[in-house]
Amino acid sequence: MSEQGDADRDPFRLWQQSSRAFLDSTAMPESFRERCAALFAAWTRFARTYAEASGAAGPAAAGGPFDPVSWMDAGGAGGFGDLWNWFGAGTGSDPSSAGRSFVHGSAEWLAYAAALDRYRGVLAAAWLRAFQRFAAELGKYGKAPDWQRIQRLWQSAADVELDLAQRSEDFLDAQREVIRARLALAAVLRKHTGKLAELLGLPTRAELDDLQEAVHALRRELRALRPRLDPER
């Protein structure tokens, strides 16, 4: 497999790229409005790209929307790249982007990056196995089946491999570690933000939490008193 270039002729590399892009995303769409807008943008670009490719070289050379190879364009230059981005819902859902400058180089950042890489690695390997399973199944056909069958084959292969992977101890351990590292990193960010709030004379999150806890306790006490205030109720 080549490391760079000629990616469109190297399905395995393309596959890894797409898996990576999917895993890079956090699948946390912010709102329905953003979903629709992103889908619209993605499909508009896709239509243009697909039409150009089809016009230039015909469907065989261009691949097609149901050809897994074309799903692998994760770079954002063609329609599906936008979809990958849409899954990630922009940088707002990236837990680390907001305070990256604060923490780059910190022990927490390095631990988080390492844990995330391991987590992605476990899943990327599963996507790769899914593709291998899919390719093996497809190879059993004398001639290429129609796209609907191809899609069913692909989904079935991916479902099996991802389910196996996501139940494995390797995955569960990687998941535990990435959550732990992510929380440690968030604590560093919070510490910085707390200092800033203190400097500006703003209430910190902990202070607001104390206030809200007191309000909740008061509401409970009020409820307990209610039968005495309104015996009819």
């Binding site: 499909w43 065989a60 691949g63 849409w86 991916a158 991802l162 996501q166 998941q175 959550i179 929380l183």
Partner: protein, 367 residues
């Protein structure tokens, strides 16, 4: 891998993509996609929590019920009224049921200290009191969905006199039932979500919730998508192209997306009870889950129970729901199996002729 036989006709694809783009643009950011349109009136409000009563659709007015629908905070109650043609609420109203629904609103960080005592006991109790006063009747049957079913079962166990009947749908009761073989000799099939939650140490789960104060609705939505990533991927790519020219299927897709995107946060204290007390420690079936300081005994449920589950439910494995039958023994308990997944129980064509008729028949028998 590429070849003419694989790729569909480019002209057809281009046409579908254009249709898809037009339809998505016409949603104007979702503003034109409407869900939960069955007419209803707000009867009561306490902060973010609201109680609604649906207007009758049957000519003769309400004949059966009342039935109070409550979803949990993992999804919204609008699932039962997603679109007119697939609305469970409409089917119930057309059959003459007096239907009510609780909307828990959107909990914010300020609600992080709310727990199961608040939702399953206090708020639900308040809503039932309002309903009783408005109907001048003895109470209502509860229709609890998913986590809302857990709330409803807890309430029925603690206040048997005020719950006339209990309909549960895709409701977890025994959170460890998926660990046991469905039949002797067959392998156990653990729920993936159950496995994930069980695999995390309690202190890590608590820290995950504390980090944002509440369990983020976006996070739970992402986890549900991650349970079947290939299906998720296909849904937004090839699946969309397939339905691009089918106006009805496209409307259903958009309505479902609107529902999926509107996922509230689960308040922190309730989230910890849910994840640690129930998913990890399975306290409800052990009799150690506490509400207002007292243990909940599900065996104290005395009203008739209708328990609906999805055979293919990958979020709440069927054994986790069906465990209630074991607890209630030979009491008035009935199960209905829908040949669907979790959400399909409410919107699938396959469940259409099973779920609504079963509830209507059961409500009519309740009197």
């Amino acid at each position: 891998m590429t070849g003419p036989a694989i790729a569909p006709d480019p002209a057809s694809v281009a046409r579908r993509v254009i249709a898809l783009g037009r339809r998505l643009a016409a949603t104007r950011g979702g503003a034109t996609v409407e869900i939960a349109t069955t007419p209803r009136d707000e009867v009561w409000r306490d902060g973010k929590i609201r109680l609604f009563r649906y207007r009758p659709l049957a000519d003769s007015g309400p004949r059966i019920g009342p039935l109070l629908i409550l979803h949990g905070l993992i999804g919204r109650q609008s699932m039962t009224d997603l679109e007119p043609g697939r609305s469970l609420v409409r089917r119930l109203l057309e059959a003459g049921a007096d239907v009510w629904v609780i909307d828990w609103g959107n909990p914010g960080r300020g609600d992080r200290f709310k727990d199961f005592t608040d939702y399953a006991d206090h708020h639900l109790g308040d809503a039932l009191a309002v309903l009783r006063a408005a109907t001048h009747g003895p109470g209502a049957a509860l229709f609890g969905i998913c986590q809302g079913g857990t709330f409803a079962a807890i309430h029925a166990a603690r206040h048997p006199g005020s719950v006339l009947g209990l309909v549960l749908a895709v409701t977890p009761i025994d959170f460890h039932a998926d660990m046991h073989p469905a039949a002797p000799g067959s392998p156990a099939r653990e729920g993936l979500l159950n496995l994930w939650v069980r695999s995390l140490p309690p202190d890590l789960l608590a820290a995950l919730v504390d980090e944002r104060g509440n369990l983020s609705g976006q996070l739970t939505g992402a986890l549900f998508q991650q349970l079947a990533p290939a299906r998720t991927l296909a849904k937004y790519t090839s699946g969309l192209i397939e339905i691009a020219e089918d106006a009805e299927a496209m409307e259903t897709f958009l309505r479902m997306e609107k529902w999926l995107a509107d996922r509230p946060d689960l308040p922190g204290a309730a989230a910890k009870e849910w994840l640690i007390g129930l998913y990890q420690e399975n306290r409800l079936v052990h009799g150690t889950f506490r509400i207002a300081g007292e243990p909940v005994d599900l065996g104290a449920i005395t009203c008739p129970v209708l328990n609906i589950f999805g055979r293919l439910d990958h979020i709440i494995p069927p054994p986790c729901s069906r465990a209630l039958g074991r607890i209630l023994g030979d009491r008035d308990y009935e199960e209905i199996e829908a040949p669907t997944g979790h959400v399909g129980v409410f919107v699938s064509e396959r469940a259409r002729d099973i779920v609504a008729p079963a509830i209507i028949r059961w409500l009519a028998r309740l009197g």
